[in-house]
């Protein structure tokens, strides 16, 4: 079986230049072409080794696709392959304004169950957070393009913050819905 070159990075895999702004439609098309070659369904009658290989390669392609299509993961990955150490999670932002905003958002989230229509309130917060994420992502893109990687790293941390709270609101909405039905 043909094997994938696992040493290439995800941008190379999906034939994209190393930039935050990517052609999502093209990434998607490449993803489907790759899965058409490596998906385990193509190796149902193959040897056990080829079957395993196919599961691993298709998994890798899916992981790559998941990273490319998620702005927060993509930003982090871009810094990683540019040689920035992203392991140290303890580093936090010193941007006071941003911290205040985060605190306010958390308070708003805690208030949700007390609201008259908590599910709708979740929708509103989610909508707001998506807009925020887009703004910060644009900032990241600019910093990265101008080669200012250390600043880009700080901005990517902000993206992670917003993403995390976004996921928490979505989880909250999921649980609220379960309790209501």
């Amino acid at each position: 079986m043909k094997t994938l070159d696992l040493s290439q990075n995800y941008f190379e895999l999906f034939k994209q230049p190393l930039s935050f702004e990517i052609d999502l439609a093209l990434v998607h098309e490449n993803q489907q072409n790759l899965q058409a070659k490596f998906h385990p369904d193509r190796f149902v009658n193959a040897s056990e080794q080829d079957k395993r290989l196919s599961v691993q390669q298709a998994s890798w392609v899916n992981e790559a696709h998941g990273t490319m299509t998620n702005p927060v993961k993509r930003a982090r990955y871009m810094l990683e392959i540019s040689g920035i150490d992203m392991k140290d999670e303890s580093e936090t932002t010193s941007d006071i304004e941003f911290l205040m905003e985060q605190i306010a958002l958390r308070e708003q989230m805690e208030e949700v169950p007390k609201k008259q229509n908590p599910l709708e309130e979740c929708d509103n917060i989610i909508k707001h957070l998506k807009v925020r994420l887009k703004t910060i992502s644009d900032d990241f893109s600019n910093k990265f393009e101008s080669g200012n990687l250390d600043t880009a790293k700080l901005v990517s941390r902000k993206m992670q913050f917003v993403q995390r709270i976004l996921e928490q609101v979505m989880d909250l909405q999921f649980q609220l819905e379960e309790n209501y039905s």
Binding site: Q56, S59, E63
Partner: protein
């Protein structure tokens, strides 16, 4: 054998190379088998022309009966007539008790970690074994109809089935002696059956309400690729629940003095009949007679709607959720496909229509559509289909995670992540000299471990003692295309590895499957030798045909006389022995033909590669 693999590029396999494959819908209420014949996927009927096999096994009077034969005993011997067993797949005693009194059976679970078994007159039996009986019946039907042994099958499962339920389904297939190409999600199968990819590209919703399970999937179709964007549902919600609600209503109306299992079963049978009658009428009469207790009543469509509505409404929450998970607006859904017998209830269609703001599609028989889709997929997977473009990309239905401090869950792979998928996680030791660590894998969306499904607890042992924090243990979680997980672990500084296959905590161990296989073989009238002989005979015929057709096409040009004669000698020898020999002997003779033709195969391969390469791009050949 190698000769079989040669076919002209761009051409489908010759007819004699056709593999027998089938799709099986193992349903809560009914099961079906379908296959692609002469290019058309169709469900296969039994001798009496019936396509649906009731998913019922009778275990009384020292006999096992399946389907309609078993159904006859339902109202008189309910405790030995096992139905709706799919609801028990991959479930432990505790889960079953949460199902309430939906099933009347008495369960035995001797030790923790073993599957619950139902007590019957013919001995205890697990849900996996019951399902295997149903699978065997369908396999026999398919093999008789298709005239040979099945090479493999695609078995459908509700998209919302978790790892334990999927593993149980696979175990049932192993027990039935089947080669499973793939477990396919039911809504995805339905989308395939509708062939919507042929008509247009776009985003569709598949609403699948069966007897005991509910699935909703959002798929994007693009040039033969079915990409599941999100899936959701409730693996314990279905038409059965409507029957039970109607049953409660009958109990209130009838004021029976003494309720036992037989009466309860009869009430449910009457409830289901009323539900079915009300799909086409506005009122229906009910009557129950049992042990001197009589009741006659009338149910109107208005009353029915009041009773059924809360249950159907429960399906809308997962619908809202998948739309959000898929990040799709309702307005962007171009089709809503209805699947499952319960979508025959007009109120279901009505509520789905008002939710999705469009008329749902139900052109295909909602009972058969899943099996048909599975048959199409089986045909593609076994290599028969000339349409090699079709590809199904599915997702993990429920998040996988591990237990962290304080009984909380930490997600490792989120729901709706495309599969196959692998995630690795690094841990370290927190005590000096620590050489082992335990991991508890769970599945579900809730924060508390106790609200999620426990899939496996295992211990990683044997890594070298180091100071706290020095060891680096990488744990890799791999989910395959069936949605089943395996876990492997490695200590990175020493390279010590540990492989753990995750079996659900209450799933079957391999020894359990082994002993069940043995028991079922003793039970079966046909012994294993005769089955193996049959397989070798089929194989021998296949080899002879392959040799003949190869020789006819290029034997003269590629072979010298001596070599040709040698091949013919072994070929003829094999042909003479087909009906006379034992399976072991036939195996030897087949091998002899293969050895004699080895050189010929190589020559054919070369000439076919040369032909194939002529006028092609490197890219196209390079697979």
């Amino acid at each position: 054998m190698a000769l079989l693999q040669i076919s002209e590029p761009g051409e489908s396999s010759a007819p004699h190379q056709h593999r027998l494959a089938a799709g099986i819908d193992l349903g809560t209420t009914n099961s079906l088998v379908a296959s692609v014949r002469s290019g058309k996927a169709e469900t296969l009927p039994d001798d009496s022309g019936r396509v649906l096999l009731p998913s019922i096994v009778y275990m009384g009077n020292e006999q096992r009966l399946v389907g309609q034969e078993a159904q006859k005993f339902q109202s008189d011997d309910p405790l030995n007539t096992l139905s709706s067993i799919k609801r028990l797949m991959g479930r432990d005693i505790e889960d079953i008790s949460q199902l309430g009194n939906i099933l009347p059976y008495e369960f035995i679970s001797d030790e923790i970690q073993t599957v619950p078994r139902i007590k019957t007159a013919t001995g205890p039996i697990s849900a996996v074994e019951v399902s295997a009986e149903i699978l065997k019946d369908l396999t026999e039907r398919a093999e008789q109809t298709l005239g040979g042994t099945l090479d493999g099958v695609v078995i459908t499962v509700p998209a919302y089935f978790d790892d334990a339920q999927r593993q149980a389904t696979r175990d049932a297939a192993t027990l039935a002696g089947l080669n499973v190409y793939r477990l396919l999600n039911e809504p995805t199968a339905a989308a395939v059956a509708y062939g919507l990819d042929q008509q247009h590209d776009g985003v569709i919703a598949v609403y699948d309400l069966g007897g005991g399970t509910f699935d909703i999937s959002i798929l994007r179709l693009n040039k033969g690729i079915f990409e599941v964007l999100a899936t959701g549902g409730d693996s314990a919600l279905g038409g059965d629940d409507i029957d039970h609600a109607l049953g409660e209503w009958i109990l209130e109306e009838a004021h029976f003095e003494k309720l036992d299992v037989v009466l309860s079963r009869r009430i449910l049978i009457a409830a289901r009949a009323a539900k079915e009658a009300l799909t086409t009428r506005n009122r229906t009469e009910l009557s129950i007679n049992y042990a001197g207790q009589h009741w006659q009543g009338c149910l109107t469509i208005e009353q029915f709607r009041l009773i059924a509505k809360p249950i159907i409404k429960k399906t809308l929450t997962p619908c809202r959720r998948v739309l959000r998970d898929a990040n799709i607006d309702i307005d962007h859904i171009s089709q809503v496909v209805m699947v499952g017998g319960s979508t025959r209830v007009p109120l279901v269609a009505e509520m789905v229509k008002s939710f999705f703001k469009r008329e749902p599609m139900n052109d295909l028989d909602p009972d058969q559509v899943v099996a048909i889709g599975a048959a199409i997929q089986a045909d593609v997977l076994c290599g028969n289909s000339s349409d090699g473009k079709m590809l199904l990309l599915d997702v993990l239905p429920l998040s996988l995670g591990i237990e962290t401090m304080g009984g909380l869950s930490e997600k490792i792979i989120s729901r709706n992540t495309p599969i196959p998928v692998a995630k690795a996680q690094e841990f370290t030791t927190f005590k000096n000299g620590q050489t082992s660590m335990s991991i508890h894998v769970i599945q579900g969306e809730r924060e508390l471990i106790s609200d999620c499904r426990s899939l496996a607890r295992f211990e990683l042992r044997g890594f070298p003692p180091m100071v706290a924090g020095a060891a680096r243990i990488r744990v890799t979680y791999q989910v395959d295309a069936d949605g089943l997980m395996t876990v492997s672990a490695e200590e990175l500084t020493s390279g010590v590895t540990a492989d753990i296959v995750v079996k659900p905590s209450y799933g079957l161990t391999d020894t359990e499957i082994g002993s069940m296989l043995k028991a079922s073989m003793e039970f079966a009238k046909e012994d294993i030798d005769s089955r193996m002989l049959k397989e070798q005979q089929v194989e021998a015929k296949r080899v002879i045909e392959a040799v003949d057709s190869a020789l006819a096409s290029d034997g003269d040009s590629l072979l010298g006389e001596a070599e040709l004669n040698n091949i013919l000698l072994h070929r003829n020898n094999l042909e003479q022995q087909i009906e006379l020999s034992t399976s072991d002997n036939l195996k030897q003779l087949i091998k002899a033909v293969e050895v004699a033709s080895e050189n010929y195969v190589a020559k054919r391969m070369n000439s076919s590669v040369v032909n194939a390469l002529a006028g092609k791009q490197v890219d196209e050949v390079n697979l």
